[in-house]
């Protein structure tokens, strides 16, 4: 055979059953067909079962009256409200626990992770014991333990431990006075958001100026002043409403004021101590992965240990820490669904009651899945954006 014909040679004819492209498609069609067949089988069974048990389908029930109490709610809710509102209340509770859990366990986890690297042997060992003790026992067990301790070790409302006659600690939770509802508060909240945004802007501007001129700007103090000052000014401008709502024992429980419930406390405490053990390990391995020269160079420059940690080590370790941290944040969000076991009304708990009352399992499970998937995807998207922002810009 002539050599020059190799490049221009036609592919030898291959039988269609040996062609990898055709085989691939046949295989895919067969697999998809089998999955489709299974789905069709399940759906037809379901339709038949639903018809036989006379269970309605569709989301019409969402506008019906829910008729069940919810112990903790961020928005006004009564049993006369609709299922949709009950589920929304649950969703907000899930978000509240998740956001607080993420913030607190990040702080605690970072402190313990750094503590494990402390030159003080005793402190390092204590932090190590903390990590091993909390992450090797199921979260659910911690939730039960904390909940039972709070609800059984504290006295009933009548024997509540009181501080200054206005803060009451009992097995119904911690009651404390809050300012009575006033329209000025909404404006103060808005002012706070604006102040936070402004503080960020000032911080960025200050850093840019420092990079350009070397002149530092006290952006942390300015920011703190803004965040405290703006709402305070709005409060004064609104006539400084100072009426308070005081908790008082009425019958078997307290009325007035506001309450942190034992279910909420136990859930948050459990999530934070459990997850912070994992976060501590992530932070520690992130810092350990850095070249030893980084901490030595920082020491040689005369930075103190705290300064070296804050200005040199943590910013670099952050790049290694963020991806595994993202999955821990997702875990907190998903684990907050354990609330149902100790009776805190989160999303799954609300939906579970709805399933039991309406019998419409499929629609409700779809609600849970969509809600968690959207929260998970938002967290992932945010953390991916953040990860990209702090990533090493290679030139």
């Amino acid at each position: 055979m002539a050599v020059e014909s190799i490049g221009s040679q036609q592919h030898p004819k291959i039988a269609p059953w040996n062609d990898p492209v055709i085989r691939g498609w046949v295989f895919q069609v067969v697999v998809v067909g089998l999955v489709g067949l299974l789905a069709w089988y399940l759906v037809s069974n379901t339709v038949e079962n639903l018809a036989r048990q006379k269970i309605a389908s569709g989301y019409a029930y969402l506008s019906h009256e829910a008729g069940f109490e919810i112990g903790d709610s961020m928005i006004s809710y009564s049993p006369a409200d609709t299922y949709a509102r009950a589920i929304l209340v649950g969703m907000l509770n899930t978000l509240k626990v998740a956001v607080l859990g993420i913030i607190l366990s990040t702080i605690l986890g970072t402190l313990i992770g750094i503590g494990r690297l402390s030159p003080n042997w005793l402190l390092a060992k204590i932090c190590e014991s903390y990590v091993e003790a909390f992450r090797n026992v199921p979260l659910l067990l911690w939730l039960f333990l904390f909940y039972k301790i709070i609800s059984e070790a504290f006295p009933g409302p009548r024997q509540a431990i009181s501080f200054l006659g206005s803060i009451f600690l009992s097995n119904r939770g911690l009651y404390f006075p809050v300012p009575a509802a006033n329209p000025v508060h909404a404006w103060m909240g808005l002012g706070l958001l604006v102040a936070i945004a402004a503080a960020f802007a000032v911080h960025r501007w200050g850093r840019k100026r420092q990079e350009a001129t070397g002149e530092p700007f006290p952006s942390i103090w300015t920011g703190a002043g803004l965040i405290v000052g703006v709402p305070l000014l709005i409060w004064l401008a609104g006539g400084a409403p100072h009426q308070m709502s005081w908790p008082a024992l009425r019958g078997f429980n307290f009325v007035g004021g506001t309450v942190i419930q034992p279910e909420f406390t136990a859930l948050l405490l459990g999530l934070v101590v459990y997850t912070s053990a994992f976060i501590a390990e992530i932070v520690r391995s992130g810092i350990l992965a850095l070249n030893k020269g980084q901490s030595e160079a920082a020491a040689a420059l005369g930075l103190s240990r705290a300064q070296a940690m804050r200005l040199v080590l943590l910013p670099q370790a952050l790049r290694l820490i963020v991806p595994p941290m993202t999955s821990q944040y997702l875990n907190i969000t998903k684990n907050s669904s354990l609330a149902i076991a100790i009776g805190y009304p989160d999303l799954v708990a609300s939906v579970n009651v709805t399933i039991n009352q309406t019998g419409q399992a499929i629609e409700n499970i779809v609600i849970i899945m969509v809600a968690y998937l959207s929260v998970s995807l938002s967290i992932s998207a945010f953390m991916n954006w953040y990860n990209k922002r702090i990533a090493l810009r290679e030139r």
Partner: protein, 425 residues
């Protein structure tokens, strides 16, 4: 001094302040003022806590008592554990038959411990797990009924697995033998399905039958975690391979399944298994609650294992795939003989960590009313005679969980260094 040559100078001992116990304390506890203050504060806190704990848990504790009443006003009520430990470990399993779950747990632990030994990582493991599983489930159920279709299916699977695994290494006669086994299974199964072969059942019933609703405690936790992961493993490998596949439909299906499962909490899957699975099946067919929970755990675990295995697949250099292709291996041969053996080796330590996670997460099945170890501990508190001592029971349960998880995490760490010995500098 200067007149002594360098090599002949007397070796001086290190300064006494830097060596020995005193030196160690100076360096690790009192290296600076701040450090010293921290140490003193921590020692005081520890002494105070330990003092309180030992007084509660040992000095004023009640070890045996007829009822919880006698514990009031004292320290820890360990008498409650003494009274209830058999319920906490074995649940509602008939009391005089408790030796059965005990030996089942011992058998399963023995299997796990034997599997931890690297010298056993070969064909022996298959025999250990087949025989061990059979013995454990025989002990738990008391009788095992093998229907004819099940027997033929097992024969078919064993034959196909043998023929494929030995397809390159075995002699022609051996492969033909495996094919014959598979053929017998296939023909038998077909004849049975067509109704040409009468149905028969092999019953092995040396003990009285105990249904799964009576199972409880430690065996349930171990079975859910171990067998959940065991069945999820092949599924997870298939999903991981599917996710790395070039076929768009397969890839889409696998990515969709993995991300859907990983995006929702296990509880929602368990609730789904308990309320939706009955709707999915034809009317009249009911699935045991225990099996439903196992199905949910398997699906959940498969998605997580798939991601771990994918990490292993991605860690392989591309040359491995290309070399296998150049050798003219088919996709199946390439995957089974070249890719998976290397990829799975890398992911053994993370897989053990997944197992630890699932060992803890199986406690969630108590939401749908299965009596795992945590749930039986919970139920032990319900007895009005012993009400009011939750800390003792939960600390006891936490201790048991800790022993399992801590030893597994230590093993995982040891294995990681052991497996990396070849590549470490």
């Amino acid at each position: 001094m200067t007149d002594v040559p360098v090599g002949e100078r007397r070796q001086l001992p290190p300064p006494t302040t830097d060596s020995g116990a005193w030196g160690w304390i100076r360096q690790n506890l009192f290296s600076s003022w701040g450090n010293g203050i921290t140490t003193v504060a921590l020692v005081l806190a520890i002494v105070w806590l330990l003092n309180w704990f030992i007084e509660w848990a040992v000095l004023t504790a009640v070890w045996t008592a007829p009822s919880g009443q006698d514990c009031r006003g004292h320290g820890a009520c360990w008498a409650l554990i003494h009274e209830k430990y058999r319920y906490i470990f074995f649940g509602s399993f008939p009391y005089e038959q408790h030796w059965r779950p005990l030996f089942a747990v011992i058998a399963m632990l023995a299997m796990l411990i034997l599997s931890a030994d690297r010298r056993m990582w070969n064909k022996r493991l298959i025999w250990i797990w087949s025989i061990g599983s059979f013995v454990s489930f025989l002990l738990m159920f008391g009788e095992i009924n093998l229907s004819s279709s099940l027997i033929f299916s097992i024969v078919l699977i064993v034959g196909v697995a043998g023929a494929t695994l030995r397809s390159t290494a075995g002699s022609a006669a051996e492969i033909n033998a495996w094919r014959a086994v598979a053929g017998i299974g296939f023909v038998g199964l077909m004849l049975r399905l067509l109704g040409l072969l009468p149905a028969f059942t092999i019953s092995i019933a040396p003990l009285s039958y105990v249904e799964t609703s009576l199972w409880g405690g430690l065996p349930v936790t171990i079975i859910l975690a171990t067998y959940g992961l065991l069945f999820a493993f092949p599924l997870g490998i298939l999903l991981a391979l599917g996710r790395r596949s070039h076929l768009p439909l397969i890839k889409g299906l696998c990515v969709g399944f993995i991300e859907l499962i990983r995006g929702v909490p296990l509880i929602s899957l368990l609730i789904m298994a308990s309320v939706m699975l009955p709707l999915f099946l034809p009317s009249g067919v009911t699935i045991d609650k225990f099996l439903r929970a196992l199905v949910a755990v398997i699906l959940f675990a498969a998605a997580y294992i798939a991601e771990v295995v994918r990490g292993g697949l991605q860690s392989l250099p591309k040359g491995q795939y290309e070399a296998a292709d150049a050798m003219g291996l088919t996709y199946f041969q390439k995957t089974a003989l070249v890719i998976l053996p290397q990829a799975l080796r890398v992911v053994i330590p993370p897989l053990i960590n997944t197992f630890i996670g699932f060992f803890k997460d199986t406690s969630l099945v108590l939401i749908i009313g299965i009596f795992d170890f945590l749930n039986t501990a919970n139920q032990a508190l319900v007895d009005p005679k012993w009400a009011g001592f939750p800390s003792e029971v939960y600390l006891f349960a936490a201790f048991v969980y800790f022993c399992f998880c801590f030893s597994m995490s230590r093993y995982s760490k040891y294995l990681e260094t052991e497996l990396n010995k070849g590549t470490r500098r």
